[in-house]
């Protein structure tokens, strides 16, 4: 049984249920609209991290754009990866970000790596599990993840919306064999299943897909 307390809190005060979503307000009533606004304000109260961040316009100096990008990637890591990165993994990733987006390595004409690409990278890395990749960036604003072992190498360019472009080189009986393609992060284990190195680097993704 779901009980609703309708007793007034004290003899002096009338019963006031406070802000409550209840029925939809009538569009004709200002009072109802205000009540609706007050109620939803409480229901969807944003967390401190959820307040919108002011966007840097394109004419913003490069150093500021790089600073904003580093900040946005770290914030995204905290909110998206949450419990899935421990302190050591998080520190390592932040060092990689700071190093890649260092002011000295960029020209003012360069396209700063985008948050949309970083989101794909993070989702892909958490999905694949296993060995964490080395990171790089492209001149078009995308992150690149690489796994290398001897002559075997997998390079994945992370585009917005979980799109990934991959290039794989594996050594087969002393002969290099290469393949490339474009897919979504979710389909990677399946698309890369004919090749051995990915199975060694992120076996969990293959077990989960099996």
């Amino acid at each position: 049984m779901i009980q609703l307390n309708i007793a007034p809190p004290s003899r002096r005060q009338p019963y006031d249920p406070g802000s409550f979503l209840g029925a939809l307000p009538l569009p004709s009533s200002d009072a109802s609209a205000k009540r609706w606004q007050a109620a939803t304000e409480i229901l969807v109260k944003p967390a401190p991290s959820a307040f919108p961040t002011p966007q840097s316009p394109n004419q913003t100096p490069l150093a500021q754009r790089l600073f904003d990008a580093r900040a946005a990637f770290k914030m995204k890591t905290a909110t998206l990866a949450a419990a899935h990165f421990n302190d050591a993994e998080r520190s390592r990733l932040f060092k990689q970000i700071d190093s890649l987006l260092d002011n000295e390595s960029w020209d003012s004409d360069d396209v700063v790596t985008t948050e949309a690409s970083f989101t794909t990278l993070l989702r892909m890395v958490l999905f694949l599990g296993g060995r964490r990749p080395g990171l790089g960036v492209t001149s078009t604003g995308n992150f690149i993840a690489t796994w290398t072992e001897g002559d075997d190498r997998l390079t994945i360019e992370c585009k917005p919306q979980d799109r990934v472009r991959w290039v794989l080189v594996q050594n087969l009986d002393g002969q290099p064999e290469s393949a490339a393609g474009e897919t979504t992060a979710k389909r990677l284990p399946e698309v890369l299943s004919p090749y051995d190195p990915p199975k060694r680097w992120f076996p969990h993704a293959y077990q989960a897909a099996a």
Partner: protein, 252 residues
């Protein structure tokens, strides 16, 4: 022979699902813009990234007059270098927030305490009318293709839905507010499906627990923080009562 462990982990969890922990103190009255500006400058060392939170109001004169655009400052959001520690400095109070990975209550309480000390030194309004301790958790449940998930296997706060359709839910949002058994403390618990899902091949459920107190708030600092500390075990107890053993296994 490998023996699969079926042990249910106990707190503190190795992979606690906390995405954000907040201690929010709200005062009676409002700080002036000058007071807030002075206060924010004092946070510059620990929180070097500082943003102004502003509301934009647009006025259109329909009788042919000018259109006006006004930016009204609503406060500041300041962040640590690694973006994990945040302060919201608002006209009616201050909120200390910590994003994942969560280092523990002591660290958050200490930061909130330091922020409040600065507020007391800078702002005329010091009478607290609300203490809020809010923990936003995200439970990431792995799924396989074409599997239907029974949310009740993980969560004890779910909507009760009459059988008007055999098809499963595609989303939900449930919120309850009620007094707790500890005098003067109440709680709002919200659970909902996070959409779009943050992780690939997962369903994520948010469990937002806001323990608050709006009466009998101590005026002395020492008593205030003893009072805030009382919310710690309360929010833990409420969190544990909202989840199942299946959910706990995800935090191992």
């Amino acid at each position: 022979m490998a023996i699969m462990s079926n042990t249910v982990p106990k707190p503190p969890y190795p992979r606690a699902p906390i995405t954000e922990g907040v201690i929010h103190l709200t005062v009676e009255g409002k700080a002036t813009p000058a007071e807030l500006e002075k206060l924010v400058k004092r946070f510059a060392k620990d929180y070097p990234q500082q943003e102004t939170l502003a509301a934009l109001s647009v006025g259109i004169n329909t009788t042919g007059g000018v259109t006006t655009v006004q930016q009204q400052p609503q406060g500041y959001r300041v962040k640590s270098t690694d973006q994990a520690d945040i302060l919201l400095v608002l006209p009616d109070g201050i909120a200390a927030s910590r994003l994942a990975p969560y280092p523990g209550w002591e660290q958050l309480q200490e930061r909130s305490r330091a922020a409040w000390a600065e507020w007391r030194d800078s702002v005329a309004h010091k009478i607290i009318k609300r203490i809020g301790v809010r923990y936003i958790n995200r439970i990431d449940i792995p799924i396989r293709q074409s599997e239907i998930l029974d949310i009740e296997e993980y969560l004890r706060i779910v909507p009760r839905v009459p059988e008007f359709s055999k098809r499963p839910l595609s989303g939900f949002w449930a919120q309850v507010t009620k007094p707790t058994d500890i005098p003067h403390w109440s709680v709002s618990v919200t659970s909902n499906i996070v959409s779009p899902a943050p992780l690939i091949n997962h369903v994520s459920v948010a469990l937002d627990i806001d323990v608050f107190r709006i009466e009998q708030i101590p005026g002395r600092d020492a008593d205030l923080w003893e009072c805030v500390d009382a919310a710690r075990s309360l929010k833990n107890t409420i969190f544990e009562s909202c989840i199942t053993d299946e959910a706990r296994r995800l935090f191992a």
